[in-house]
């Protein structure tokens, strides 16, 4: 350990650290633009200049290794003046188009301007002009004028995404970030440069100009795109999800997420294809009914069949809580042994950074909470076969568009009863007799268990009819807090959807069972009592970074269906 002094206080630190790292570990932020914990050191922005005793000049904290006895000053007059100088330099040619810049509100340059700048400009000359709209790739747009040439995006592409296509050309103030001739920034992780970019130079072509950041709330959640379960934030304005951004979790996804997860997992939440309340097929068409009527109908219809004629398909997209109540209802109340779920593997579509071949967030969780055939029951193959042969007559499907898979779709029409939980209209709801509209992952509390056995929480970011942002403890934006119903964002559209565990609990109740879950955590509590691996856990303990549990089983990929 090395003893160092920062701003008059002594600390014992790892001698391998740089000054900026050592300070950060002690909770002292040395301002910086180009330095990033996950990338190589560039030392170009000069914002982290600090005074180090016995050094003739100010030194950059990012590239200076600590040494025993080192005395660092991060707040001396000299340091403050140097920071003000760097800020002034960065701003002279900056377009200052904050009013129309997506980054405003989460911009390092803007934040530091308040914190470390003098608040006025001495620059009266003409600014350098550069291209404002450059398509770097399918997902990322570049405004060269806003670029402060920190090279973070270049280093990310080289070092993390391993697609070295970005570079600077030209010299001095005329430096331009660009792609090498004949290349585009189109790797699977390309959008991470958007958050890495400390300014608004790199923006998301999907999110661009959609919202000021302070108009959105940010809710901690987990990506449902694959079994990695990257930690992310769901950004919502007016009850609409506008973007997902990665959230740091060293144990899962570091600071990154993949473009596919970021772009393809939230649009259905806002979609026009969303279902409302519950629907019952009457004379060939699905008709909206009340929850009570639909639940009564589920109960009465299920009673028509023998236990052995009923099968249940859980969902690797559903939460542990949903799957737990589902299997409990099916096995203990309905009494069927035929229960399984559909894996969604895309063999080969994986890498050693984040992306997993299992395209669901919760297959290990589904298994662990009991979505698997009871002794003597049918597994997925058996269920499909049974439906085809007519021995399975009723099927209850939890939140998975199983009819999108041709070999399943072909047998479904022979069923006499198909009950489906879904958030959106899809192939399966088209065939269903009863559809119960369940909350999407962005609308409910719950947990997923990722491929490694990490249990992680999701939280509601989008309000439904039965939830209220303020009363149900949602993350709030400025608009949520201060808008009135007369304001533009004051009248959100809310879907009448319920979490599957709640719907299933109501069905169980209607079938005479004693189930009293009022919150997802009530379900989770029962899981901790009944499933050894969950013993001792609570939502509080899982927190925002998740907890590892022991997983005894892994998902077999023997049934390969996408």
């Amino acid at each position: 350990m090395a003893k160092i002094t920062i701003d008059g206080k002594e600390y014992e630190v790892d001698p391998k650290l740089s000054v900026i790292q050592a300070a950060a570990q002690q909770g002292i932020e040395i301002p910086h633009f180009c330095w990033h914990e996950k990338l190589s050191v560039a030392g170009n922005c000069r914002m982290c200049l600090v005074e180090i005793e016995k050094m003739p000049k100010l030194a950059i904290a990012c590239a200076t290794q600590v040494a025993d006895g080192m005395v660092v000053k991060t707040m001396s007059e000299k340091v403050i003046k140097a920071r003000q100088a760097v800020m002034e330099f960065l701003l002279i040619n900056h377009p200052l188009d904050c009013p129309i810049c997506d980054e405003a509100g989460e911009c390092k340059l803007q934040d530091y301007s308040y914190k470390y700048s003098v608040g006025y400009s001495r620059f009266e000359e003409d600014k350098v002009h550069k291209p404002k709209r450059v398509e770097l790739g399918p997902n990322v747009m570049l405004d060269v004028e806003r670029c402060i040439m920190c090279s973070r995006c270049i280093r990310f592409s080289d070092e993390i995404a391993k697609q070295p296509v970005l570079t600077f050309t030209e010299r001095g103030t005329h430096v331009v970030l660009t792609t090498f001739p004949g290349t585009v920034l189109d790797n699977k992780y390309s959008m991470n440069v958007i958050e890495l970019c400390p300014v608004g130079a790199l923006t998301s072509r999907d999110f661009r100009f959609k919202s000021r950041v302070w108009e959105m709330s940010a809710t901690e959640s987990v990506c449902t795109g694959c079994s990695r379960g990257c930690n992310m934030n769901i950004w919502v304005r007016n009850n609409e999800v506008l973007r997902l951004t990665p959230r740091l979790n060293e144990d899962v996804n570091s600071s990154w997420m993949c473009d596919s997860g970021r772009l393809n997992t939230f649009k259905f939440v806002n979609s026009q294809e969303r279902l409302n309340n519950s629907l019952i097929r009457k004379e060939g068409t699905l008709v909206e009914t009340g929850w009570d009527e639909a639940i009564a109908k589920v109960v009465s219809e299920l009673r028509v069949f023998k236990k052995t004629e009923i099968a249940a398909i859980g969902s690797a997209y559903a939460t542990n809580e949903d799957n737990f109540v589902f299997q409990k209802l099916m096995k203990e109340i309905v009494g069927t042994k035929n229960i399984d779920f559909v894996p969604h593997m895309i063999e080969g579509d994986e890498d050693d950074l984040l992306i997993r071949a299992d395209k669901t967030p919760n297959s290990s969780g589904a298994l662990q909470v009991g979505v698997k055939p009871a002794d003597g029951g049918l597994d997925l193959k058996g269920i499909i076969k049974g439906i085809g042969e007519g021995s399975i007559k009723a099927l209850y499907v939890l939140d998975d568009d199983i009819a999108a898979i041709p070999e399943i779709a072909s047998v479904l029409p022979t069923l006499q009863l198909l009950i489906v939980h879904s958030s959106v209209k899809n192939h399966t709801t088209e065939l269903a007799d009863i559809v119960l509209s369940c909350s999407a992952y962005a609308e409910k509390h719950g947990t997923f268990t990722n491929f490694e056995g990490r249990v992680q929480r999701i939280r509601p970011a989008v309000a439904t009819v039965e939830q209220d942002r303020a009363l149900d403890g949602f993350a709030m934006s400025r608009w949520d807090k201060f808008a009135s119903p007369n304001d533009r964002w004051g009248r959100p559209i809310k879907k009448d959807a319920r979490p599957s565990w709640r719907i299933l609990g109501a069905i169980a109740g209607a079938m005479g069972a004693k189930v009293k879950y009022t919150t997802a955590e009530d379900v989770f509590k029962e899981m901790t009592e009944r499933i050894p691996a969950f013993k001792g856990l609570s939502y509080l303990k899982i927190g925002s970074r998740g907890t590892m549990i022991k997983t005894s089983e892994t998902v077999s990929s023997s049934v390969q269906m996408a």
Binding site: A63, A85, T173
Partner: protein
């Protein structure tokens, strides 16, 4: 003059650039001698000679060589810096043209001393003619076995590769030069690590100026004792001084270090046209601090003396300006150079060099205010010392020294302030 002056680097011998003439005049004798010594002895000789780098910083050459690790599994490299792009500097070119084999001989000796098997000779891209001359000399030296396999029948092998620059001043900065050789963008590297630990391709590397390396055969031939008695004791040896500007005979002159600047101007360069007074002298390339004519008395061309005078030796490229010179125009042009050449990597230099130039441009156009003088000084101060490489300093020093020493020139260009109308109420 020449009777007191022995010339070593550019002796007046016809066709010395030709290998046979060079050989006939004692060429490659030093190499033969060095190969008979232990490598450490060669380094020691250079160290004791007190040779200091001619690339601008006057860094002790022998000391630099000792930074190279002895025990290493990695290859080691020498980069001979002939990028020569600092305005006012044109002395390495004379070596390429007049005594190329001296440079090659020095290069091979340096390699031997440091256990280096590949040397890169990095030559400014605009020097097309001189690159071709060096290529010819190198081919001849290879053919005669002075470079290449088992040199002069010894066990020592080293190769020399000529690398052409591509037109960027910044590639003369040693770490940028290495990036340039590697085929990377000419961006200086953050130091530490220093080149001796982590240089070209991550291997131990020494970078020396062309003229520095050309001194090495002289040291070996004459012995450190004799060499170190040439010129100023703490900064000895012959030095090539390039004189340009308002002098009767501009050119490159070889002399011992420590010759008074006034002697260089009046004796070597034969005075100022029209016998005009000297207004200012930039002593060592455009980045060195400008001296007023009245500061020249007693100032000599060696590190200590130039420091005492308030400037530095730099590359010994003197720019002499007579009493009629428009110094605002001069400093505006110098600033434009650094603005144009800043690599753009680090914030203060990238942004500050352009700012300096733009404000100076207003002085040049008589469109500046009095406060702009302090603004210039402040911008220069904010660049100085806060950048990755010394280009930032090189841009700041001329402006700082010009304001300090010629403030009146700036004041003369201030626009006579009219009362400023805050709102036009005449309509």
């Amino acid at each position: 003059m020449n009777e007191v002056m022995e010339t070593y680097i550019l002796p007046d011998i016809k066709d010395l650039h030709k290998l046979d003439v060079y050989e006939a005049n004692g060429g490659y004798k030093a190499l033969r001698k060095a190969l008979g010594m232990k490598p450490e002895e060669v380094t020691d000789e250079v160290k004791k000679s007190n040779l200091r780098g001619r690339g601008g910083a006057c860094f002790p050459t022998g000391l630099k060589w000792t930074f190279m690790p002895k025990q290493t599994t990695k290859p080691k490299y020498l980069c001979v810096n002939g990028d020569e792009s600092e305005p006012g500097t044109f002395k390495d070119r004379q070596i390429f043209e007049l005594n190329p084999h001296l440079l090659l001989e020095g290069t091979v000796i340096a390699c031997y001393a440091m256990g280096i098997t590949t040397a890169y000779l990095y030559i400014r891209g605009e020097y097309g003619k001189w690159i071709r001359m060096m290529e010819k000399a190198l081919a001849d030296a290879y053919a005669k076995g002075y470079v290449g396999e088992k040199i002069l029948g010894s066990e020592f092998t080293t190769n020399v590769v000529i690398h052409k620059g591509a037109g960027a001043y910044i590639c003369g900065e040693e770490s940028s030069l290495m990036n340039s050789i590697e085929g990377e963008r000419g961006y200086p590297r953050v130091k530490p690590p220093f080149p001796a630990q982590n240089g070209l391709w991550g291997c131990p590397t020494t970078i020396n100026n062309v003229e520095t390396i050309s001194n090495v055969p002289l040291i070996i031939n004459n012995g450190w004792e004799r060499y170190s008695k040439i010129g100023a004791p703490k900064h000895p040896g012959p030095i090539l001084v390039g004189v340009s500007g308002h002098v009767n005979k501009p050119g490159v002159y070889e002399m011992p270090t420590g010759v008074p600047l006034l002697e260089i101007i009046h004796k070597y360069a034969q005075g100022i046209p029209g016998n005009k007074a000297i207004k200012a002298v930039i002593p060592g390339g455009s980045s060195t601090m400008i001296l007023r004519g009245d500061q020249l008395e007693g100032a000599k061309m060696d590190a200590d003396s130039m420091k005492a005078a308030g400037s530095s030796v730099g590359t010994a490229g003197m720019i002499v300006m007579d009493e009629d010179t428009d110094l605002i125009k001069v400093i505006t042009r110098i600033s434009k150079f650094y603005y144009h050449e800043s690599c753009g990597q680090c914030t203060p230099c990238r942004e500050g060099t352009g700012w300096l130039w733009k404000v100076l441009k207003r002085f040049e156009n008589n469109d500046a205010r009095r406060e702009d003088i302090d603004l210039l000084m402040d911008v220069a101060n904010n660049i100085e010392g806060n950048t990755i490489c010394a280009l930032g300093d090189a841009a700041a020093w001329p402006v700082q020294s010009m304001i300090r020493r010629f403030r009146d020139e700036f004041e003369k260009r201030v626009k006579v302030a009219e009362p400023r109308m805050l709102a036009d109420a005449s309509a």
